[in-house]
Structures are given as C-alpha cells and as structure tokens.
C-alpha cells in the first residue's frame, strides 16, 4: 500500500470529505494561501476557494464561535486552532456552548463540528506553543477527544470525527506530522471509542497516547532484546474511552505503565489509572499502576531541558523494566 505522512493523511481526509459533503468547510488562522502553520491545509484554498477555506483574523474565540453557530444550522465546520495552547482562548465557545447545546435543547440541536489542533513539545517552540491540554477537554461531557498516532488512524479517525454529530476536539502532534505510514486512498472511518493494540505482549501493558505510543513501541523493541515482552495499547480516543480493551490487556499482563506527554498531575493518566483500579483488572495487578508523564513545569525553550520535561524512549524502557522486574 502507498505510504503518506500523518499530515498528508489529515489533509486527504478533509479534502475527500469536502468533495463528498458540501456542508464541510474549514475555518482558521493562516489556513488559506499560507496553507497553515504546519502546511496541513496546503493547496486546499486553491482547490476549494475562499468560501470553504475561511481565513480569520487572530481570534480563536471568534472562529470557534462561528464554527459552533454554523454547526448548529447544519454545516460541518472544521476549525483549526494553530497551537493547542490557544484552545484556552477558544474554550468559552467550545466548553460552555458547543458541548452544552445538545443537552440544553433536549437533543433537538446538535453541534457537528471538529476542532483540530496540534499539541506537544519537541520543536523548540517553548512555553506558549508546546502544551498538551487534551485532558482539559476530556473533562467536559458533550465533547469528544481524539488523539491519533499513525497516519492510518489520523485519516480514519478524522473522517469519523467530521461525520460525528457532536463537537470533537481532534488533537494532532507536531512531531508526528512528518511520520509516514500506510494509508488507503479510499474513504474509511475508525469508530471513536475503539482502542488499538499496537503491539501484543505478555509481561506489561503500556497504555500511551499520541507520540508516546511511538516512543513506547520503540521502548518495547529495546525491552524485547532483554526478553521483556510488552503490550502497547493506544486508546486513540480519550472520550469516549474503550475501557474493555485496556482492562483485558491489564488482566493478561498484571502490570501497567501509563505514558503521556501532558503534565502528570491532572493528566489523562490519572483517569486511566482510575478506570483500571475500578475494573475487574484490579484483582490481576501484580504491581502498582505507574504513570510516566510530563514534569510539573511549563515546557522550557532550552532543548536539553525541553527533552527532559517529557518522557523519552530511555525513560520508558527504564520504568517498564522496573515494573516487570518487580522493583516497584
């Protein structure tokens, strides 16, 4: 099968859906002639024109509100927030309006919009352009939160998100944009709320999100050389969450390491740990549930500090080994 990048997979999903469904349009900053800060929408303005690729001023709240309103009257907007850090500005419309309207109108209104945004550190973009704020939105009933790791997942999950009748926060990762993978040319969807076992193993379950899935897979290869056989589970969507796949994996291995880039305190790892501890997997645990996550600091500019602020492959290898060897 042909290989394309994560970025191209996202662009292809949007392009194909816009060709298929006239109600789909894009709205965001610099997404037009500039093609987006990461070139995700490169060439789309030329194809679809100014009516369907709406360049806005620097107004995250305004563009998210416009998307919410358009969705209410039957459009399927895809809003791009250039950096996840600035979803904080968009969150009034997203959290207080988009997420609530379906409930407040007793199901008579719906907000079928997608808010796409790149998260994560590793590009030297410092405190204001590197955060992973997914769990802010996981906490809000009415929102769905998706975090694809591979180009294949990115396309299938984005198509499912656009067609979903609820607001979806679609969290991309800057360092994944140029990673390649096999992606079918045709239209396909991956249901939201379906985890994927990215690697099968018996000694330890690693539940990881976004780029930490790739790093965990690398770590798993390292550990395999030592005879440690790791299973890597990628939830793919954090809300709704496929608890069944995670619980079954932990029941099989009895040991679990949760890895994410976002700061540990209040991060999604706490939710995962809670889900596991509440489930029947509890009685299969041979060791404490361990979280490996971002440090309790803003992402620093200095490259060395930046790398040390979030889990790297070596950290995952070390932590996984400790759990498997019952050092914790």
């Amino acid at each position: 099968m042909r290989e394309i990048t994560y970025l191209e997979a996202i662009r292809e999903a949007m392009t194909q859906e816009m060709e298929r469904d006239e109600s789909v349009f894009l709205i965001g900053e610099d997404i037009g002639t500039y093609g987006g800060a990461f070139q995700v929408t490169h060439g789309m303005y030329e194809q679809f024109g100014p009516e369907r690729i709406l360049d806005t001023p620097i107004t995250e709240l305004g563009l998210t509100g416009a998307a919410t309103g358009a969705a209410l009257i039957g459009m399927r907007p895809i809003a791009e927030i250039m950096f996840m850090d600035f979803t904080t500005l968009a969150s009034e419309q997203l959290v207080n309006q988009a997420a609530k309207l379906r409930f407040m109108f007793g199901g008579k209104a719906s907000v079928p919009m997608v808010l796409r945004t790149p998260a994560g550190s590793g590009t030297g973009a410092a405190e204001h352009h590197s955060q992973s704020l997914e769990n802010w939105f996981v906490h809000v009933p009415g929102l769905k939160v998706v975090m694809p790791t591979t180009p294949y997942d990115a396309k299938g999950l984005l198509l499912a998100s656009i067609r979903d009748n609820n607001p979806v926060v679609f969290v991309e990762h800057k360092l994944l944009y140029k990673t390649k993978g096999e992606v079918p040319e045709e239209d396909y969807t991956i249901p939201l709320g379906q985890a994927d076992v990215k690697r099968s193993g018996t000694d330890l379950t690693i539940v990881a999100t976004s780029i930490m899935v790739s790093r965990s897979l690398e770590a798993a290869e390292e550990l395999a050389k030592e005879g440690i056989n790791v299973e890597v589970v990628d939830p793919r969507s954090l809300r709704p969450l496929d608890t069944g796949t995670i619980v079954e994996s932990v029941k099989k291995t009895g040991k679990v390491l949760i890895v994410h880039e976002a700061v540990k305190t209040g991060g999604f790892g706490g939710e995962l740990a809670g889900v596991i501890a509440e489930s029947e997997a509890f009685g299969y645990l041979e060791a404490p549930i361990v979280r490996l996550a971002g440090r309790e600091i803003p992402i620093p500019y200095n490259r060395t500090l930046e790398q040390n602020a979030v889990p790297q492959v070596a950290n995952i290898v070390e932590k996984a080994r400790d759990i498997v060897q019952l050092k914790v």
């Binding site: 800060a37 590009t123 800057k174 140029k178 009685g283 019952l326 050092k327 914790v328």
Partner: protein
C-alpha cells in the same frame, strides 16, 4: 572575534536546511542586514542576512548541501580578525560551585542534602548513584519511597492479584512468604504455597474411564525434579554386596544396651545413616554439589532419608549426622518420619541435605537404582537383607545375611574411582561397624 554565520532555524519543526545560493562571494564586503545567501526549508526559501559588517570569509557550504540547523557555514571578519582554525571549541562547562555546602564526608547534591535533612535520613546510609558516588535527589527519593520490609501494623502486604488468587485457592495469606519488593506477596507466591504438600482429594470413579489424578502439588514437584535430574545429570551406578552379620551383631549389642537403659531401640536406618556419614566424611567429593561455575564440597554432612507417603515421598534430613551419636540419629529419624507422614515437617527439616539414602529393603526389594536428588551429587539405594550363598576363603559355601547397596553418582563430579573408593570404604564400615570407633 570573527562573527559566525549559521544556518538559521526559520520554521517551528525545522531540523535541516538546504543552501540554495550564496548572494555574496567569499572575500566580499558585507553590511549587517544585507542579504548574503538563500536557504530553503521543506516549505519555503528564505533570505539570510549578514549578522555583522565585515568581510565574508571561509564559506564552507556549497549550494545544494543539506545541513542541520545551527551549522556554522561562514564567518564575517572585521579588520584585523582571522578565521578560526579547526573545529570550534566546545562551550565552557559551567563549574559547579559547592562552596556554600556545609562540610560533610558524604558527597551529595545540595537538593539531596536538603531533602535528606527534611526526612531525617542519614546520608551515610544512602547509596550514591551520581558521579564519584555522589548522593543525588533520586537516591534520597528511593530511600524515602521504599516500602517497609514488613508491614508494621501486622497487616498482610500483598498485590491485588495475590489476594484474588489466594481467595480462589483458599490460601491463607498469613502463611505465604512474599517475594516482591519489600516482601510484597505476588500471585506466584500464593500459587507456590498452594502447591506445597497437602492431601489429594480422592475421587470415586464408577465407569471404565481411568481415574484422573490432577498433576498438582507434591506430585508435580516430584515429576519436575526427577525429570530435570534424570535428563540433566549423567548418572553412573555402583553396586556392592555387603555381608551383614557384623552389622546385625552390632545392632543387637546396641539394642541390649538401649533396653537396659530403658531407651528406644536403635533402627537399622540409624546405624546405616551413621556409617554412611563417616564414609562421606572420608570422601568429600561424594558429599558435594555441581553448579555451572563450580563444584561445592560441603563441609556439613546432612543425610536425607527418603520416607514414602500416600501421595508421594519426602526426604527429611539428619543434619550433621557425622557429629551425632547413633541413638540421637535414631530418635531424629523416627521423629522426622512420624511427622513427615503427618505432614508436619518444617522447611528446614527437609532442606539442606547433602546426600540421600533410599531404603526399600523393608518392601522386599533386593536391589535398585535411585535417581539423584539435586543439588546433591549422589544417592544410595539400599535393598533388603536376606540369606544368600557366600563362598568362604576355603571354598566352602555358606548362607549368610547379605544386603545390596547401589550408589548413583553425578558423573560430572564423581569419577568412577572416587565412587569405587567410597563404596569400598562404606562396605568396609558396614561389614565392620567397629571401625566407627577407629
């Protein structure tokens, strides 16, 4: 100092850049802010400005080259400046200033020192993992967060999985030894405890189907150990025929004494254990263990005596048999056998054996070969004592009490001659027990 011209980072996620063209040539004068070259990222072409005023010198990257960002690609020299020679020196390493640290013999980072003080931890007791054994914050954290070796409140420290398995198998966690960190009980510990000796349930079968005995507990252990022993140890066997009249006479004398003293009778096994222990004392290679790295010649002589049970067998051990009197050995063997059949032996009473005796004489077996009980290097199979035809030196054939013994030895440790010498010694002792007092 000459001003460096570097390949600039112009994009968020840019790792490399391509030189498109040099607008200014080597040796040309440039003014700060003037465009000197064009580079390209995978998105755009970018004009690069001169970072200083002077003469452009030492251009080291040609058009078309792809280089990592921040690579030095040229210099701008002011009058009197020269191009730096060779590679650029690395930036100076910041010197650690530890002047304010209070004096102490233990090297530790300031954070580790502060943290140790807050938790009232003696730094002398912390293993430093930093440079030259310096105690780091992580080392102190490890000490602070390590669980206590034993739960101080008397509660059971067990993993959730261990609790579930214990409940399923009906195992009392108070009786289980934990092997996890801080003595935490893991599920494997519970499984192991459940497989330790306990009576097998007897199932009543009415059909012609075979009776199914699950391979659990002692049966499984026996199967695994004997298979491992027989497959991994090269066994070699030596049989000797022992004339038993002196042995029988000696035992009779000992028993007369015991009766007069009102003490328990001396069993044949007790006398056998004593004589074997003396032979072992004189032939330490037979009282040994084979490991992958070395052969261990044991200083203690601990003789195990196989005892048959309904569900298998167990080998209680007479420790330091060579140092004990025959009467004491007799008491111990009888006590161990009784408690073995009642399932009341302590782990220490079945462990630590350095040699084993298996006596099937009472069952009417004439002679047999036993399988070595690892990690021991040899086992003695003892048959029954019966009247056999024995030719005397003068050619006459008479009936005498005779016993056959067979030594099975680990041939990796015990050479044929070593085993033969041991058997000769043992035969001599059994045929002349008076040699005990030699």
């Amino acid at each position: 100092m000459a001003t460096e011209v570097i390949l600039p980072k112009v994009d968020m996620d840019q790792e490399t850049g391509t030189i498109v063209e040099w607008v200014k040539k080597d040796g040309e004068e440039v003014t700060e802010g003037e465009i000197i070259l064009v580079i390209e990222t995978d998105k755009v072409a970018i004009d690069v400005e001169a970072p200083a005023t002077g003469v452009l010198q030492g251009i080291s990257a040609a058009p078309g080259e792809v280089l990592p960002i921040a690579t030095v690609i040229a210099h701008i020299l002011e009058p009197g400046e020269e191009l730096p020679q060779g590679p650029m020196p690395p930036p100076p390493t910041p010197q650690e200033t530890l002047a304010e640290v209070p004096p102490s013999t233990v090297p530790a980072t300031p954070v580790a020192r502060k943290m140790a003080a807050a938790h009232e931890i003696d730094l002398q007791q912390v293993n430093g993992s930093g440079q030259q054994g310096q105690v780091t914050k992580a080392d102190v954290v490890a000490v602070v967060s390590s669980p206590p070796a034993t739960a101080p409140d008397g509660k059971v420290y067990a993993a959730p999985a261990a609790r579930r398995v214990a409940s399923e198998l009906g195992v009392d966690l108070n009786q289980v030894q934990g092997t996890g960190p801080g003595g935490r009980i893991q599920s494997v510990d519970v499984t192991a405890a459940a497989q330790s000796p306990q009576p097998m349930p007897i199932e009543v079968q009415s059909s012609s189907e075979p009776e199914v005995i699950p391979l659990v507990g002692m049966r499984r252990t026996i199967a695994e150990r004997l298979t491992a022993s027989y497959q991994s140890i090269p066994h070699i066997n030596f049989t000797a025929r022992i004339l038993m009249d002196a042995f029988i006479a000696t035992r009779a004398t000992l028993n007369e004494h015991a009766e007069r003293a009102g003490e328990a009778r001396i069993s044949a096994t007790a006398l056998l254990v004593k004589l074997v222990s003396i032979a072992l004392q004189r032939h330490p290679w037979v009282n040994s263990s084979f490991t992958d790295e070395a052969i261990l010649l044991h200083r203690s002589i601990n003789v195990g005596v196989a005892v048959a049970l309904e569900e298998g067998l167990i080998v209680p051990v007479v420790h330091d048999a060579d140092k004990k009197g025959i009467a004491l050995i007799g008491t111990e063997v009888s006590d161990l056998a009784t408690r073995a059949r009642a399932g009341q032996l302590l782990p220490s009473e079945v462990g630590g054996g350095t040699f084993t005796i298996s006596n099937l004489g009472p069952f009417g077996v004439e002679q047999f070969e036993a399988i070595i009980n690892p990690p021991q290097a040899a086992i003695l199979a003892v048959g029954m004592t019966q009247q056999e035809a024995v030719p005397l030196d003068n050619g006459e054939i008479v009936a005498k009490p005779v016993m056959h013994i067979t030594l099975s030895a680990d041939h990796r440790v015990i050479d044929g001659a070593v085993a033969a010498n041991f058997m000769a010694e043992l035969k001599s002792l059994l045929e002349n027990p008076i040699l005990l007092s030699y």
